[in-house]
């Protein structure tokens, strides 16, 4: 099952060609390298445009990250890691 987290996280981010791309993030004491962005979408909350990313980490763990420009800040919304698989 997915673990719902909403944890603030530090994310190494590339801004290239007007695009935002998460590269790796620090969570629970580990740095997780993003192998692939598997999906992206956005949602408007008031004037702010929140950008969401589904990403794949090592060992096929997957995560959903949100970039909130109001901080700016990154939030790890959900995770599915080998530790929480059933």
């Amino acid at each position: 099952m997915f673990e719902t987290l909403n944890d603030p996280v530090d994310v190494l981010t590339a801004f290239t060609d007007g695009k935002l791309e998460p590269l790796r993030f620090r969570w629970r004491g580990s740095v997780i390298r993003i192998r692939k962005v598997t999906g992206r979408w956005s949602r408007r909350e008031g004037q702010a445009l929140l950008r969401y990313f589904s990403v794949e980490g090592p060992a096929s763990d997957t995560y959903e990250l949100c970039y909130d420009p109001r901080g700016p800040r990154w939030v790890l919304n959900r995770a599915w890691t080998s530790g929480n698989r059933e």
Binding site: M1, G39, R43, D68
Partner: protein, 409 residues
């Protein structure tokens, strides 16, 4: 030529595409899996177990206990749907979204023949797979009716094309209910007239159909021949909604009047806000509720004048509720408005108090436009929020990133 592009098991497929470990596994998209509700979508791997959209989650868990139950995310699906529309308009500006996971694509002179349309459809199908990791079934035909019905012939990842002759050859032997627009009740009435198949309908005397079904009778006969002149309306031209509504399955059967009225108030506020945001006023308010025995009741009432005010919508919804509710536990409750118009043609603001109320609504809308929907809600609905903490497709708290760490209200 027209294409109907239908995404296969869209919500579940998006989750499988975004989370590769879900690929090849039975995936069931629902509300909060720890609460009760209904199945929103089931992947193709879950369907052999008998799981279908709309089925109570408890039943799905009994049929398919090992499936992955994933909380749905409407923002994600709408976002991907918009990205798909962006892809389609690279081929033609004539794109008409039919639902969140279906769109008509008019090829016009780009595809004068069925063969050329099939080639383009195949390219789009491959690009959807390459860019999004999603499967689509595409129907190809000379009109929307044939394209729509062809899209359902081979799924998933099917590509089916018919001209009118091919349509008749394929569909005439099938039950009349497969015809787009013919529901169970209409089909039953047709069977009572000896019309069991699409072919029977095509051959039925026009006078009989007109006498039995009125003006739609001749249209049904035309449809059975694969004829349809419904225009494709590109989405940049827009089509006005006919109704706006919200409903929620409660986490547990509820017979508490205050909780139910708080829920109604919240739903009325959501409906009014959407009505204003989309630039409408409404003349009809409808209430829907389903009790613990799965009996569904819907009642509606017309207003004297148009409105976009949540308090007026709530007042009518509450009156309808008081009339219908017999005190038994309620499972689902919903509010909708219809009779939509772009501008009120009636006198809605005779008094200064009306003008003040409108000014207040506009001020509150500006706050929500700037800070988000949850920034201002009717006080009377706060008890409901505390009691449920959950709205369709996610908790109120989770709609604000990082909010899970904030103190409970």
């Amino acid at each position: 030529m027209i294409l109907l592009i239908d995404m296969d098991s869209f919500f579940a497929s998006v989750e499988q595409a975004h989370h590769p470990h879900l690929r090849g596994r039975a995936v069931i998209v629902c509300g909060d899996p720890s609460r009760r509700g209904v199945v929103t979508a089931a992947s193709y791997e879950a369907r052999p177990f008998g799981v279908r959209a709309g089925m109570p989650l408890q039943e799905a868990k009994r049929l398919c206990p090992d499936a992955e139950y994933v909380e749905g995310n409407p923002d994600k699906y709408v976002g991907v749907s918009l990205q798909l529309l962006d892809l389609y308009v690279q081929y033609t500006p004539d794109v008409e979204p039919f639902s969140v996971d279906e769109a008509f694509v008019g090829l016009g002179r780009r595809a004068p023949t069925l063969e050329r349309a099939i080639e383009i459809a195949r390219v789009i199908q491959r690009e959807i797979d390459a860019r999004f990791g999603l499967g689509a079934s595409i129907g190809v035909g000379p009109n929307k009716l044939i394209a729509k019905m062809a899209s359902g012939v081979h799924k998933p990842r099917g590509l089916t094309a018919f001209d009118e002759a091919g349509f008749c050859e394929h569909f005439w032997p099938l039950e009349v209910q497969v015809l787009w627009g013919v529901g169970p009740q209409l089909a039953a009435r047709m069977r009572s007239l000896g019309i069991s198949t699409v072919g029977d309908l095509a051959r039925a005397p026009a006078a009989l159909l007109k006498g039995s079904f009125g003006v739609i009778g001749p249209q049904l006969k035309e449809a059975a021949h694969g004829k349809d002149d419904t225009p494709l309306v590109p989405y940049h031209q827009g089509v006005d909604a006919k109704s706006i509504g919200h409903e929620v399955t409660l986490p547990r059967d509820c017979a508490d009047r205050d909780d139910l009225l708080g829920t109604l108030l919240r739903l009325s506020d959501q409906v009014a806000r959407r009505t204003r945001t989309e630039g409408f006023v409404a003349r009809v308010v409808a209430l829907k509720f389903r009790d613990h025995r799965f009996r569904t009741r819907i009642r509606q009432r017309a207003l004297d004048t148009h409105t976009d005010d949540h308090a007026r919508i709530f007042t009518v919804a509450r009156e309808l509720f008081e009339t219908l509710w017999n005190g038994e536990p309620v499972r689902l409750i919903g509010v909708s408005v219809a009779g939509l118009a772009r501008e009120a043609t009636d006198q809605t603001e005779l008094f200064a108090s009306d003008r003040r109320t409108r000014a207040l609504r506009q001020a509150l809308d500006r706050v929500r436009d700037r800070l988000g929907e949850a920034s201002v809600v009717p006080a009377g609905s706060l008890g409901y929020r505390r009691a449920l903490g959950h709205v369709p497709f996610g908790s109120v708290a989770s709609r604000s990133p990082g909010a899970a760490r904030s103190k409970p209200r």
